[in-house]
């Protein structure tokens, strides 16, 4: 059978400590285990002595007393549980100071019986425990009595030493209980005092902490005030700035609109509403959508905005109609400094109606004037042509013939100029018509060059023609193309004194490019920009003429013609005294590129 020795040794300790044994750590419990065990054994034996054998083993009794006291003291040193300590102490005291002396020593007349209770009395007195004083006094008295009785045999009644022992035991126990109760109070008070002390410390620390925190809070509130003041100031500054900006935008004559990427309108000005014919009380969130619908027939505003924000590139669009007006839109994306993403878009809208009408009326004026001029010119030319028939005899005179000839040439030239003006205004007003067809370049070029051959020969120039044989056909108007080629070839010949004129055509991508190159006087870089403008000759002063017989409209008309046929024209390169190369580019026939021809038959 396996005996749990640990359990047996632990039992006394558990009994004495009660439920509190669990609160001890293992090391402490171990020490107490054996101490309690020893104590219990001693106590039991002492009790058995008391119950059975008074007289015989006095030395053993003393030894056990001492052991019990020792155990009690050690116990109290190990754990400072006042309650338990006192209980144990008290029990041992009862045994030592009361039971054994009273029951044993007193009857034998041994004076040491008074020693223990006396010591205890003093001790209790010093501790200030009244109850302890009382019960030890009682014990002392009881011992005295027992001693006297044992010595003198005074009492007349048969008081047995045992009943004396029992009564003093009872007394002792009662006062012991009282003492325990008091002791508990003492110990409680001790604990409370200790706790108070600890609380004091904690309290002090807390107060210090609070003082620190308070200081910090003060600092914080000072800082906060300062920050608030700054914020107020900054807000005011920003508000001022914003007010200035708003005022500037509001007074702009151009329409202004700023919108975020999601379409929210941040700012717009009255000019915008006015120009685009929106009511002046249009709510901000509807401005953009209203604008879009106003323009939708002639322009996809949303598309342009989206593209602008995606690419970051500003855009410009002209000739957009809104109601009766012509407007021009400039758009630009808003970026944060290093960010690629657009925050939104700014739109500027300009009312071009006046400018457009002016342009139109200028064109119409020229058109009307030209028509008007034709009548008298017809008359002049007509009459001149009849001169020979009317005055045959005068025509024999060489001078006379020459004069009439001069008049004829001049009037023919006048008619030519007027026709050129009319041609130009028709193109400008987009009233010209084009027969777009698939055209064979080779044929057109050759036809044009035939009429220039005499001029080329007269100036002793060389003519080179370099056209790839298998060029695809070009989508253009044959007659108009000839006009353009005549203009370019004519210019090339006009401005070249020696060298050659080269006409080439090549297939590049989806386009055909025709180049007219000459080795003539070339065009200075600063004048190159003005080339395709109205009335510009290749000099910077509008009154300086390159050539007495030119109106300066040739390239302008050529540009209008080429662009309205869906192509493009440009000066490819030119160096003064080296020559110039002009190029015109057309889309291949059969491929649909953006056609700008206004009307097609």
């Amino acid at each position: 059978m396996h005996l749990n020795t640990d359990a047996i040794f632990s039992l006394p300790a558990k009994l004495i400590l009660g439920l509190k044994w669990r609160q001890l750590d293992d090391a402490t419990f171990k020490r107490l285990k054996f101490l309690c065990f020893a104590f219990v054994i001693a106590f039991v034996y002492a009790s058995s002595l008391f119950l059975n054998d008074w007289g015989r083993n006095s030395n053993l009794a003393i030894g056990l007393d001492l052991l019990i006291v020792l155990c009690a003291v050690l116990f109290s040193l190990i754990i400072r549980w006042s309650k338990v300590y006192l209980l144990v102490f008290h029990l041992s005291v009862i045994v030592v100071a009361v039971v054994i002396p009273t029951g044993y020593f007193a009857p034998t007349g041994n004076r040491t019986v008074f020693l223990a209770p006396l010591v205890l009395l003093v001790a209790y007195f010093l501790l200030g425990r009244i109850w302890g004083v009382f019960w030890t006094a009682a014990t002392l008295f009881a011992n005295l009595v027992a001693y006297e009785i044992g010595r003198q045999g005074i009492l007349s009644f048969p008081v047995s030493d045992q009943s004396l022992a029992y009564s003093s035991l009872a007394l002792g126990m009662i006062s012991a209980l009282l003492f325990i109760y008091e002791g508990a109070n003492i110990s409680n008070e001790h604990r409370i005092a200790e706790r108070d002390k600890r609380l004091q410390v904690v309290n002090t620390e807390l107060n210090q902490e609070l003082a620190k925190r308070y200081k910090l809070t003060l600092q914080l509130s000072v800082e906060k005030e300062s920050v608030e003041r700054q914020v107020k100031l900054r807000t005011h500054q920003l508000q001022e700035e914003q007010a200035r900006l708003q005022a500037s935008i509001a007074t702009l004559k151009l329409g202004f609109l700023m919108t975020l990427q999601d379409g929210t309108v941040i700012t717009h000005n009255p000019a915008l509403l006015r120009i685009c014919e929106l009511p002046s009380d249009t709510p901000a969130h509807l401005v953009l959508s209203q604008l879009r619908s106003k323009m939708q027939k002639s322009y996809d505003l949303q598309g342009a905005i989206t593209k602008c924000m995606a690419s970051g590139q500003p855009f410009e669009a002209s000739d957009i109609t809104v109601g009766d007006k012509f407007i021009r839109i400039l758009g630009s994306a808003i970026h944060l400094k290093d960010s690629a993403e657009a925050l939104g878009v700014v739109l500027l809208i300009e009312d071009m109606t006046a400018a457009k009408l002016l342009e139109r009326s200028e064109s119409e004026f020229v058109s009307i004037a030209s028509h008007e001029l034709r009548t008298p010119m017809t008359i002049i030319q007509g009459n001149l042509s009849l001169m020979e028939d009317k005055y045959p005899e005068k025509f024999t005179d060489k001078e006379f013939r020459h004069t009439i000839n001069v008049l004829k040439i001049s009037s023919a030239r006048m008619i030519m100029i007027v026709n050129q003006f009319l041609n130009m205004t028709k193109l400008e007003q987009k009233k010209a018509t084009f027969n777009l067809d698939a055209i064979d370049i080779v044929q057109t070029v050759n036809e044009t060059l035939i009429s220039f051959q005499p001029m080329i020969d007269a100036k002793n120039l060389q003519l080179k023609v370099e056209i790839s044989p298998r060029l695809p056909k070009v989508k253009a108007d044959a007659g108009r193309l000839q006009e353009v080629l005549s203009n370019l070839v004519g210019n090339a010949i006009k401005y070249t004194e020696n060298g050659y004129i080269e006409v080439s055509a090549s297939h590049e991508g989806n386009h055909i490019t025709i180049r007219i190159k000459d080795t003539g006087k070339g065009i200075a870089a600063k004048n190159q920009e003005l080339l395709f403008h109205k009335f510009q000759q290749a000099t910077d002063n509008i009154f300086t003429r390159d050539d007495s017989h030119s109106t300066g409209l040739g390239l302008y008309i050529s540009k209008l013609l080429v662009e309205q046929m869906g192509g493009s024209i440009a000066l490819e390169r030119s160096m003064p005294n080296e020559g110039s190369t002009f190029s015109i580019t057309f889309p291949e026939a059969g491929l649909q590129t953006m056609s700008r021809a206004p009307a097609m038959k």
Partner: protein, 136 residues
């Protein structure tokens, strides 16, 4: 002699063409506007009408329309003689029944007369349009 009714408001132009037409043995009648032109067309029943467009009181296109809706005179060949090279006018005139649309400033008067003779010769062969020659 072929009788021509020249309907033209400008007196100098009138004079010019009258001279040339007479040189080529045409008989020439003159009218200064569309109203006079219609009256004279009805009264004189010319062999051909030369019709200017820009005229006071009634312009050439209007007169042409009225002429072609009058059963008495609608079969008289009409040749437009104008300086307006507007495609719309040209098309309108030809649709109304004019046989040719001549732009005055493009031809010396003798050429014009030549064209008239040509048209009269080809009377039945349908309308033609004289394209303006634009040169630099």
């Amino acid at each position: 002699m072929i009788k021509v009714l020249l309907v033209e408001d400008d007196d100098l132009i009138q004079e010019l063409y009258e001279t040339v037409l007479k040189l080529r043995n045409f008989e020439v009648e003159l009218a200064n506007d569309g109203i006079e032109g219609l009256e004279k067309a009805r009264a004189l029943k010319p062999d051909v009408v030369l019709l200017d467009v820009m005229m006071p009181k009634m312009n050439g296109l209007e007169m042409l329309e009225k002429l072609k809706s009058d059963p008495e005179i609608k079969n008289i060949p009409v040749i437009m003689l104008s300086n307006i090279a507007d495609e719309n006018h040209i098309r309108a005139a030809l649709n109304q029944g004019a046989l040719k649309y001549i732009i005055k400033s493009e031809h010396v008067p003798m050429e014009v007369v030549g064209l008239v003779e040509e048209v009269l010769a080809n009377h039945q062969k349908g309308p033609q349009i004289d394209k303006p020659l634009l040169t630099d």
